[in-house]
């Protein structure tokens, strides 16, 4: 097991990852060195260009939400038995959000102990209420590697 120490953050990776899923869970040796994306949902990206060439944002604040893809290759499968699309899950993200410390506030719930500052910015890992969009996994028997992906979208 590899421990990663990040300055200013609690160096505690009992399962080899900071990822926490409220449903199922993250077994040991299943989520080490995972990748997590965090990007706006499609509905948050509504722009049109006028006949005079001006790009106009037509999005609405309430659609300013995230979608995320967690992918990993480890030796064990994640505990996603019984997890299906549409199921709500609270995700303690590995991905981080950053805002300007002066005058700024976090837009999402900050996972306790995850915030740190770098220069004039505050970096934190968000806790997001999400919904399972899709899930897939595969295994290589001889190599004993399990590849899995979990697509999530903020509710």
């Amino acid at each position: 097991m590899t421990l990663i120490d990040i300055p200013g953050q609690t160096p505690s990776l009992p399962l080899g990852t900071w990822l926490v899923l409220s449903v199922g869970g993250v077994p040991l040796y299943s989520a080490r060195n995972l990748d997590q994306t965090l990007q706006p949902i499609d509905a948050a990206h509504v722009t049109r260009r006028t006949v005079n060439g001006t790009l106009v944002d037509l999005s609405v604040d309430k659609f300013h939400k995230y979608q995320s893809k967690i992918s990993c290759s480890d030796v064990e499968a994640p505990a996603l038995d019984g997890v299906f699309p549409g199921m709500a899950v609270t995700v303690d993200c590995v991905a981080e959000l950053v805002y300007k410390t002066a005058g700024g506030t976090p837009s999402r719930t900050v996972i306790a102990g995850s915030a740190r500052t770098v220069g004039g910015f505050t970096i934190y890992r968000p806790r997001l209420d999400m919904m399972v969009v899709s899930f897939n996994q595969s295994i290589s028997e001889y190599a004993r590697t399990v590849q899995w992906e979990l697509d999530l979208e903020e509710v």
Partner: protein, 673 residues
């Protein structure tokens, strides 16, 4: 910094009909637009704009708008119109609004324009229902034109479906997008248009007079005299006996007073002294009737006029003288020859009677004209059939009463051959022409082009497109529609033009003077005689027609005797001669009686027995004359055809030349791939 093209959109009030610098605004963010103008329709503008989340039709909010475009140098107003309504996707972030370029005073403009279009031969009110004559749409039925509303100025005009009024836009191969060109045969052209039209009116002429001049008959034929109308008599079916005249000008049936006379004589002895036996007073009354009762009212044809005979009377009085024993006496003598002389005259000279019959014609006349106009178009089908290929159109119209419309008079015998009737014929040809021309644009060519090329486009223009793939390499047509589109999302701005191309041959019109039917041309004034083979150019100079020959049918006005006289017979075979003999004998009997000379004695209060005997004999003699006439009757029979409650119908086949249609595309010409 380079000049960029810019679109402007400004909400406006309806009164802001003139575009100016204040409209160079961008009141809405426009993501895309589509300006469409179809022939005969209002231009429309569809816009995608951000949802302003306000009531677009809220009170006080302007809902008219100007769309304009600057090419970097010049600003071109593209559209002025009003919001059609609230968009259906009102809750969306981007809504689509539609505006229409319908003028505020559209109705008024059309009414004013239509008023000037109601001219013959393009508009003939008699074929239009009275309730629809003010309808501006109806006025164009005789025009090969459609309404046009300018999308910017909102001026209402008409535009011909073949020849535009605002020139020709030429599109070379470099002006159009290669893949954006299309050609299709929209529909088989209309090759025949047939119109059956009927007009009707009541031919009415109450001034007709038929005279039977100098109708000779035995003057003593009392049957004729009896049946002669006493006064103006309506015989029914339009026949009226106006009068029957005898030669002397009096009515034959004049009820003349009986000839006769009376004598009243009274004597009074006015001497101062009287002797016994003197007659003091004496009174004589005597009256007689020479014409038997019943005869006097009938035989007036013989003109038993007292003035034509003789009448003399004499009397002698003798005063009584007691001394000498002379009794007073009164003698009265009357000689009557009047009637005998009149009868003699009548026997010697038959009477001629002028019978005048009034003819009050009321004839329901219907004229039906068959107009068949062919279109001189290029074939698009090898075996086209009228029913399967919809190449024939048949119309039927009925005119209102032409007399009531004031285009004919009740006494007119015909309609269509008249000058006004020929205008009606031309109108029907114009209707057929309009149908044929609009369907002659059987080829539809459309192409896409750069946006600036359609900025000045109009449905009042023609356009040509050069493309080697088209038959002949170039096609001309009337602009039937165009579009301007723009989208900020993909940056595409363009135009599309659609034309309808007529597939005629463009042959010249053939007219013909024709040959005169009666006398050489020039011998009589034009229009006086009929010409055979004449083909006159219609006012549009693209078709011709032959004047209609007069078609006689039914009663012709003015009415003539031969049109209504069915039978005219004297039934006096032998009777006249017998009557002459009998009457002569009877008259002789009267004459033999001679005059009566009677003597009235003083104090007698009544006629003497011999006077009474004479009067009886005289009456019997005259009665013998009357009876002789009655026993030998003669009569006139005149049978006339009815002139009312009758109908007649005439049909005309109008001869027309094929409609000349321009060749805007040569379908037989070669093309190059």
């Amino acid at each position: 910094m380079a000049n960029h093209s810019t679109f402007f959109f400004a909400w406006a009030n309806s009164s802001e009909t003139s575009f100016n610098g204040s409209h160079l605004r961008e009141d809405e963010l426009i993501f895309s637009f589509k300006l469409t103008h179809e022939e005969g329709q209002f231009a429309t503008l569809e816009l995608e704009i951000t949802n302003p989340h306000v009531g677009l039709l809220a009170p006080g909010r302007p809902f008219w708008a100007w769309l304009s475009w600057s090419d970097g140098t010049t600003v071109h107003p593209l559209f002025f119109g009003r919001l059609v309504g609230i968009p259906s996707n009102l809750f969306a972030d981007v809504i689509t609004v539609t505006l229409v370029a319908k003028p505020v005073d559209y109705t008024e403009q059309r009414l004013a324009l239509a008023a000037g279009l109601r001219v013959l031969p393009f508009f003939d009110p008699i074929f239009v229902d009275e309730k629809r004559r003010e309808d501006p749409d109806v006025v164009l039925e005789g025009y090969s034109a459609l309404w046009h509303v300018d999308r910017v100025t909102h001026q209402v005009t008409t535009s011909d479906v073949i020849a535009g009024e605002e020139g020709v836009e030429e599109f070379t191969a470099n002006d159009v997008l290669y893949d954006g060109v299309s050609l299709e045969l929209a529909e088989a052209p209309l090759m025949v248009c047939e119109i059956d039209a009927s007009v009707s009116w009541v031919q009415c002429d109450h001034t007709g007079v038929i005279e039977f001049k100098k109708e000779q008959f035995n003057p003593l034929s009392t049957a004729v005299a009896d049946d002669m109308p006493q006064q103006k008599v309506n015989m029914g079916n339009g026949i009226v006996i106006n009068q029957a005249l005898n030669p002397s000008g009096g009515t034959a049936t004049k009820n003349a007073a009986p000839n006769g006379g009376s004598v009243h004589w009274e004597y009074r002895n006015a001497n101062d002294t009287h002797l016994d036996g003197d007659s003091m007073t004496a009174t004589v009354n005597y009256s007689w009737t020479d014409i038997p009762a019943g005869f006097s009212t009938k035989d007036t044809i013989a003109v038993l006029d007292a003035g034509t005979g003789t009448y003399d009377m004499s009397y002698h009085t003798q005063y009584g003288d007691p001394e000498s024993g002379q009794a007073a006496e009164l003698q009265y003598s009357v000689r009557q020859t009047t009637n005998l002389m009149a009868i003699d005259k009548a026997l010697a000279q038959p009477v001629a009677t002028d019978l005048e019959i009034g003819v009050e014609v009321e004839q329901n006349r219907t004229e039906i004209i068959h107009v068949r106009v062919l279109a001189d178009v290029q074939p698009v089908l090898t075996e086209a059939t009228e029913t399967e290929n919809n190449i024939k159109e048949t119309l039927s119209v009925t005119a209102s009463d032409v007399v009531a419309e004031g285009v004919a008079t009740a006494s007119d015998g015909v309609y269509f051959p008249t000058a006004r009737g020929l205008q009606s014929l031309e109108y029907l040809m114009m209707v057929a022409r309009a149908h044929l021309l609009i369907r002659s644009r059987a080829v539809k060519v459309a192409w896409e082009c750069r946006f600036p090329r359609v900025v000045g486009m109009s449905c009042r223009k023609n356009a040509t497109i050069e493309d080697s793939r088209l038959p002949g390499g170039v096609v001309l047509g009337k602009v039937t529609g165009y579009e301007m589109t723009g989208s900020g999302d993909d940056g595409k701005f363009g135009g599309k033009v659609t034309i309808g191309s007529a597939i005629g041959y463009g042959n010249p019109l053939v007219t013909a003077t024709g040959t005169p039917d009666y006398v050489d041309a020039g011998y009589v004034d034009p229009g006086y005689q009929h010409y055979s083979g004449t083909l006159l150019a219609a006012v549009t100079n693209d078709m011709a027609f032959a004047p209609l020959a007069y078609e006689a049918a039914g009663l012709q006005l003015p009415i003539s005797k031969d049109q209504i006289l069915v039978r005219h017979e004297w039934n006096d075979a032998g009777q006249a001669a017998a009557a002459q003999t009998a009457v002569t004998s009877a008259v002789q009997a009267v004459r033999q009686l001679g005059p009566y000379v009677g003597t009235f004695g003083v104090g007698e209060t009544g006629p003497s027995a011999d006077l009474i005997a004479f009067a009886v004999a005289r009456s019997r003699a005259f009665a013998g004359v009357d009876q002789a006439i009655r026993d030998t009757p003669a009569w006139l029979e005149v049978e006339l055809a009815p002139v009312q409650n009758i109908s007649t119908s005439v049909e005309y086949d109008a001869a027309t030349s094929p409609l000349v249609i321009p060749m805007q595309i040569n379908l037989s010409a070669a093309s190059t791939p």
